[in-house]
């Protein structure tokens, strides 16, 4: 028993160390900005940061599933767009809002299924498959919305509108609803990934697909499920964005996938598969979000912000690589 305890400690310690890596970056940013700007550590600003990060973080959680399985996901942004369009169109059809939400997430999952099909059955490499669907889903968005933005105010019934407004910009205990949604999703996905057999299978497939297959895991199925998770989360992100903006833009979500991938990777999810955590991905999204917010507060112009974003992606991933190397050489 004693023995098993130390074992647990070891696992916890390693995971904690990984977690610390991203945390260090996060706190570094927070400290710097709180020194530089008095407006940074105010309640209002903190809430506005969490709010601006919520959607990206939700998306990044889903994308992490695909990255952990060793895939790529370039279509997530387009799924966000298509989800928004589907959401508004189904609202317009007079369907109650909560059913619309389910339909929309369902469509996101279908998009993921399609990606999974291309990757596992048509044997396309994930980059190309999802690049193709990026175009397809974006095109679908335009077609569904007839190319114009759809106002939720116009398509939703009175009662639904109030509910959707509450989701998009309401608060409970001073914390925005979208943040709750993001946290709940992150918790659920964390549990799926770390506590369920599905999670183990996902890691196994991402770590060594051949070994996983030989051990009786239907890797094709697991891969497809990972894409479906990503699609579903992108669908949810689409709903969140739509309720926040109270309109569905045909261009909504453009290049969100890159932000999501960047967040995941900054948070320690490996693009080679087999490694990563959901809290890490959320933290990655926060690092990017806090940096943007801080630089805005400091009045750094948007041009330099782009440069700094790029630098942070590179430095974060590089630091991660260095840390892993050190660990590997230590053993």
């Amino acid at each position: 028993m004693n023995n098993s305890n130390t074992v647990k400690n070891k696992i916890t310690r390693t995971k904690f160390a990984n977690f610390l890596g991203s945390m260090a970056g996060l706190f570094g940013l927070i400290i710097i900005f709180s020194i530089l700007s008095r407006a940074f550590l105010t309640v209002d600003n903190v809430i506005s940061i969490t709010l601006s990060v919520a959607i990206y973080a939700t998306l990044a959680c889903g994308i992490s599933f695909v990255l952990i399985i060793g895939g790529a996901e370039l279509s997530a942004g387009s799924v966000v767009g298509v989800a928004g369009a589907i959401f508004c169109v189904s609202l317009r059809a007079g369907i109650p809002a909560w059913i619309c939400i389910i339909i929309t997430i369902g469509c996101g999952i279908l998009c993921g299924l399609f990606n999974g099909f291309l990757v596992t059955k048509m044997h396309l490499i994930p980059f190309i498959a999802t690049l193709g669907t990026q175009y397809i889903f974006r095109g679908a968005t335009y077609i569904i919305s007839s190319g114009s933005s759809i106002s939720v105010r116009e398509v939703a019934s009175e009662g639904d509108l109030a509910g959707l407004k509450f989701i998009g910009s309401g608060k409970i205990l001073g914390i925005p609803m979208l943040v709750y949604i993001m946290v709940i999703c992150a918790v659920i996905l964390t549990i799926v990934l770390s506590k369920t057999t599905l999670g183990r299978k996902i890691f196994a497939t991402g770590s060594n697909v051949e070994a996983a297959r030989l051990s009786g895991i239907s890797t094709d199925k697991i891969t497809t499920i990972a894409y479906m998770f990503s699609g579903g989360m992108a669908g949810l992100a689409g709903v969140m964005l739509t309720t926040r903006l109270l309109s569905a833009q045909p261009t909504a979500g453009t290049s969100f996938e890159l932000e999501g991938i960047a967040a995941s990777v900054i948070g320690g999810v490996s693009m080679m598969g087999g490694q990563g955590t959901i809290p890490g991905a959320v933290m990655g999204a926060f690092i990017v979000g806090i940096m943007r917010n801080g630089l805005n507060l400091l009045g750094v112009n948007t041009f330099w912000q782009q440069v700094i974003t790029g630098v942070i992606i590179i430095v974060a991933v590089w630091a991660d690589i260095m840390r892993r190397r050190r660990e590997a050489s230590k053993k």
């Binding site: 390693t14 051949e210 053993k331």
Partner: protein
């Protein structure tokens, strides 16, 4: 001791090869059944059939009296048959417990019962007294031997009745082998049947009960008790001819020392001195993991070293990278030809010319005619079996792939060739051709370092044999004047000599 497994009349052909021809094998519970034979005799193929990786062309498998057909590893496991491959099937990012229970976690409503899995894994580890492994260790951070133990635990978690070990000691150090044997003895005590494949005759005497010998896909006689034969008789049955036949007779004209490497130091290697004469074949003997490959890679500049000094013809040269080593006339044939030797998706011509860009180009432009003629010359010289020069390397058989790698270096015309396991996975005929080639090269005054795990091959081909143990050269013997036993004593660390001699020079 009842029979638990019987394979009857198994035959299997691959395009161009009859890998197995009417083979029978019977395994009883509580015995270690050794499966012996030369490279390419068909041992692995037989075991892959047993585990459902390949389907047999003919024959049947009977497990505990019932005829079964096995289509994949999972079915085999469910029937109580497990195999431990030499190339591992573990997920490096997962923990030991997760790997042991991969794909079949005990679950409550889809949730992993981590405690249960860890406890069970711990039980298995305890059973074999593997207390240096913890269920929560991540496989990526483990040594090769530990990974193998994980594979064994995985097999045991199925409570298998038959456990197959395909060359398990190939990657292990001595102390680790001891541990493996303890595990095997434990299995034996529990009444399991064990099939054990190995090329190391010496270790068999410690564990093998009965032996089945395969030669070129055919069974040689009935299984017999290991104790009833001498080692010589055993080898005779395996090879089917005497040693003289296996290695081309050759008189070498050996010149003066032209290559020297001193103070080779890195994590795995600590070698003070090594030298090669013109036209000489220097064998390197050592157990797996002795650091032979690491030393060779260090000399070739393929890996970083903390110190090294290389002299060619008495002049110090820089070997900071493979490119520089090659410029100084040193070449290295990797042991892992698929991953490190060949560009599988390129054709034969491009592979052969890969290291000889200067030879086939003018002002940086490739002259197609020269390139093709050059490639064709070596394809003919080595009789590489390929339908066309434009054939992609991935479509050649293993032996022909090895010849391609050889052709690459022959084309480059270097002074020192380091062969790392040049005949691994190569059939008898191809081996003989490679030996002949080595002889021809030495005739041309090329110095050769040959790393091999097959002692007979080392004794048959080399002039001198340097002996490595745990990263250092612990001795040196003249091939003609030594025996396998003496070499074994050195490389297992029982005996050291000559280190002082080298130090004095």
């Amino acid at each position: 001791m009842g029979e638990i497994l019987r394979m009857e009349g198994i035959s299997k052909s691959f395009p161009g090869v009859k890998a197995l021809d009417n083979v029978n094998i019977v395994v009883n519970s509580g015995e270690v059944h050794a499966l012996l034979g030369e490279n390419g005799a068909g041992k692995s193929t037989l075991m892959k059939i047993l585990n459902g990786v390949y389907a047999p062309d003919e024959g049947k498998i009977i497990v505990k009296g019932k005829e079964v057909s096995i289509h994949n590893i999972k079915e085999a496991q469910e029937l109580g048959i497990s195999i431990i491959f030499q190339e591992f099937n573990l997920c490096p990012d997962l923990t030991v417990a997760d790997n042991v229970y991969i794909g079949r976690h005990k679950n409550k409503f889809g949730f992993v019962d981590a405690k249960y899995v860890e406890k069970e894994t711990q039980k298995i580890l305890d059973r074999f007294k593997l207390n240096m492994i913890k269920p929560g260790d991540v496989v990526m951070t483990m040594s090769v031997a530990q990974m193998q133990m994980v594979e064994i635990c995985k097999a045991m978690s199925f409570d298998s009745d038959v456990v197959v070990f395909d060359e398990p000691t190939a990657a292990l150090a001595d102390s680790e082998i001891e541990q493996l044997f303890m595990v095997i003895k434990q299995l034996q005590k529990e009444g399991k049947g064990i099939i054990y494949i190995s090329h190391r005759m010496e270790e068999l005497s410690k564990i093998a009960d009965r032996v089945t010998v395969l030669r070129d896909g055919q069974q040689v006689g009935d299984p017999f008790d290991f104790a009833s034969v001498t080692l010589d008789e055993l080898i005779n049955r395996m090879v089917g001819r005497t040693m003289e036949d296996k290695y081309p007779k050759h008189e070498r004209k050996i010149g003066e020392v032209f290559f020297e490497a001193n103070h080779i130091r890195n994590k795995k290697v600590n070698v003070d001195h090594i030298d090669v004469r013109k036209g000489e074949i220097l064998g390197i003997a050592g157990l797996m993991g002795a650091g032979r490959t690491e030393m060779a890679r260090a000399i070739f500049g393929a890996d970083p070293v903390s110190s090294i000094e290389v002299k060619v013809n008495g002049k110090k040269v820089n070997v900071g990278s493979p490119g520089q080593a090659i410029k100084n006339g040193i070449a290295y044939l990797t042991e892992d030809r698929k991953n490190e030797g060949l560009a599988l998706r390129l054709d034969c011509e491009k592979n052969i010319n890969m290291a000889s860009m200067k030879k086939i180009s003018k002002y940086g432009f490739v002259i197609n005619k020269t390139a093709e003629e050059n490639a064709k010359h070596y394809v003919d010289a080595l009789s590489v079996k390929t339908p066309k020069l434009g054939q992609l390397a991935q479509f050649l058989s293993g032996g022909n792939q090895q010849k391609l790698v050889l052709a690459k270096w022959l084309s480059r015309q270097v002074d020192l060739l380091i062969f790392d396991e040049p005949t691994r996975g190569i059939d008898v005929g191809a081996k003989f051709e490679i030996y002949k080639l080595m002889n021809e090269l030495s005739d041309q005054g090329v110095g050769i370092i040959m790393i091999s795990s097959e002692l007979p091959e080392l004794l048959g081909m080399s002039d001198r044999v340097a002996l490595m143990h745990e990263g250092s050269i612990v001795g040196e013997v003249i091939a003609k004047e030594t025996t396998q036993e003496e070499i074994m004593e050195y490389i297992t660390g029982l005996k050291t000599k000559g280190t002082e001699r080298e130090g004095n020079e």
